[in-house]
């Protein structure tokens, strides 16, 4: 599908997004709230469809962000969903692994490094930290880095 078709397709979920941002040539960002990301991700992966690349977890002081990156290989466009998790005490978001097996590992990794809970994840065990790494210490959180 070409760029115009992709842009039109994205308008179908505009009601679930905060905005549609065109950052650079072939780079689109879709900020949205955590509760809507499951539906947005499902739409991008199954209906558009786009190829899942990876997810990035970020500690942004007042909130957490999870960026889900997708690629439209026909045009080389990268579409990134930017999910805002506002609850810093008990950060949680719906897992997308049930329909996207390729996201299973990265959600486990974000859970290890940032302590975000992925609800309904099929296998939320430790992935990349050592067996003797202390519970409750999240290396990529700002308070840990200080």
């Amino acid at each position: 599908m070409n760029q115009e078709e992709l842009n039109n397709k994205l308008l179908e979920i505009k009601d679930k997004l905060i905005d549609i941002e065109q950052k650079a040539n072939k780079r689109i960002f879709l900020p949205c709230e955590a509760e809507n990301t499951y539906a947005v991700n499902k739409f991008l992966f199954e209906d558009v469809p786009l190829r899942f690349v990876i997810a990035t977890g970020i500690d942004s002081d007042d909130y957490f962000e999870i960026l889900y990156h997708y690629s439209n290989d026909e045009t080389g466009c990268v579409v990134t969903v930017k999910a805002f998790i506002r609850d810093r005490e008990k950060p949680a978001i719906e897992s997308i692994a049930p329909f996207l097996p390729g996201a299973e590992w990265i959600e486990r990794e974000i859970h290890d490094l940032l302590g975000i809970d992925f609800k309904n994840h099929p296998n939320l065990r430790r992935l990349i930290l050592s067996d003797d790494w202390p519970e409750g210490v999240y290396p990529l959180r700002k308070e840990t880095k200080k």
């Binding site: 990876i54 690629s71 996201a103 590992w105 990265i106 990349i128």
Partner: protein
Amino acid sequence: MKETVKKPVLAVGPFHPLQEEMEFYQLTLDGEKVVDIDVRISYNHRGMEGISETLQFDQVPFLVSRVCGICSASHPLAYINAVEEIAGITAPERAQYIRVIINELERIHSHMLWVGLAGHFIGYDTVFMWAWKYREPVLDLLEEITGNRNNYGNVKVGGCREDIPNELIPKMLKDLDKLDKKTWMLTKAVLDDPIIHARLKGVGILTKQAAIDYAVTGPTARGSGIAIDVRRDDPYAAYADLDWNVISQPEGDVFAKAVVRLLEVLEAVKIIKQALKKLPDGPIAIEVKEIPPGEGCGRAEAPRGETFHYVRSDGGNRPVRHKIRAPSYVNVPSFKASCLGGHIADVTITLAAVDPCYSCTERLAVVDGHNNIIHNYESLHQLSCEKTARIKKEIGAPEWKLEDI
């Protein structure tokens, strides 16, 4: 049928000489069929993304070059693509061509490495020795240009650090002609061998749907009929100016992936020759004073697949966040789809077929229900070699004639 009484589980790893990296696989067997598979990584987790935030933008390429030894040109290039996107700059043309040449040379020696290892895993040590012998001239060439056989350190934000002297080009073209001949010879020998056909065809099949669900990339995807390639889909460096083909095969088995990799080596030689002949004159870098606030997504086609880097800047000297996604991170978990239902003797070659790079990912054991090791890596490798020997007996071993060019 899964019983509640624990089935024998096979442990592969965490150390073995030719499986260089550490990973701890657990396979559950039903007789000789694999019914479940899990892996414990973490042995290679060095916390690179965290370290990246402590370094300045121009120091990071040296760090990410060491994410993985054989994708060591692709990671810095993907990172630099992301940072150049944030800064809105384009490196000079000569630098773009040099980036192509170095990355394609790396692709050649990485694929040859895989061909050798694959040969070893099925008991064809001749393939191993010949493929690694043919790799050496490529490493020599890289050392002549960049000063190191691996870890080139040749890219920086805004261009390249070292130039390819024009006087070297005729010698490089001659070396590439020789390499072309040797690779053709090795490719024909491997692809025409009926035992390799019998051993690898229909083994470790990753279906197209599974490849999409697990979001695989690179030869793993192209061997399952998904013809994606970042060099063509989201062109970077000088790839859009050169004439080359994306290689893909539909079958999804280990043989298909081997064909893709061997033919990609020949394509890579073609690309490098064009790039050398078209290499434009001019500077190899522009000066970059600062990186403005913003976020960028950079990618490169590493030998194993798409390398993706996301960088966020707040206008300071260091990245605020740097996400590194190596291709093996998505390719390795696809073992759940390709190994299950397969035979225990095919485990080593199926796992190796994605060309796993655990240092990219972070890294085989089979224990029984009481955690007793009933097979270690050596006995699994032994089973694989025995299967090859059985096939040889049935078909009859062909004569391998390789000339020392």
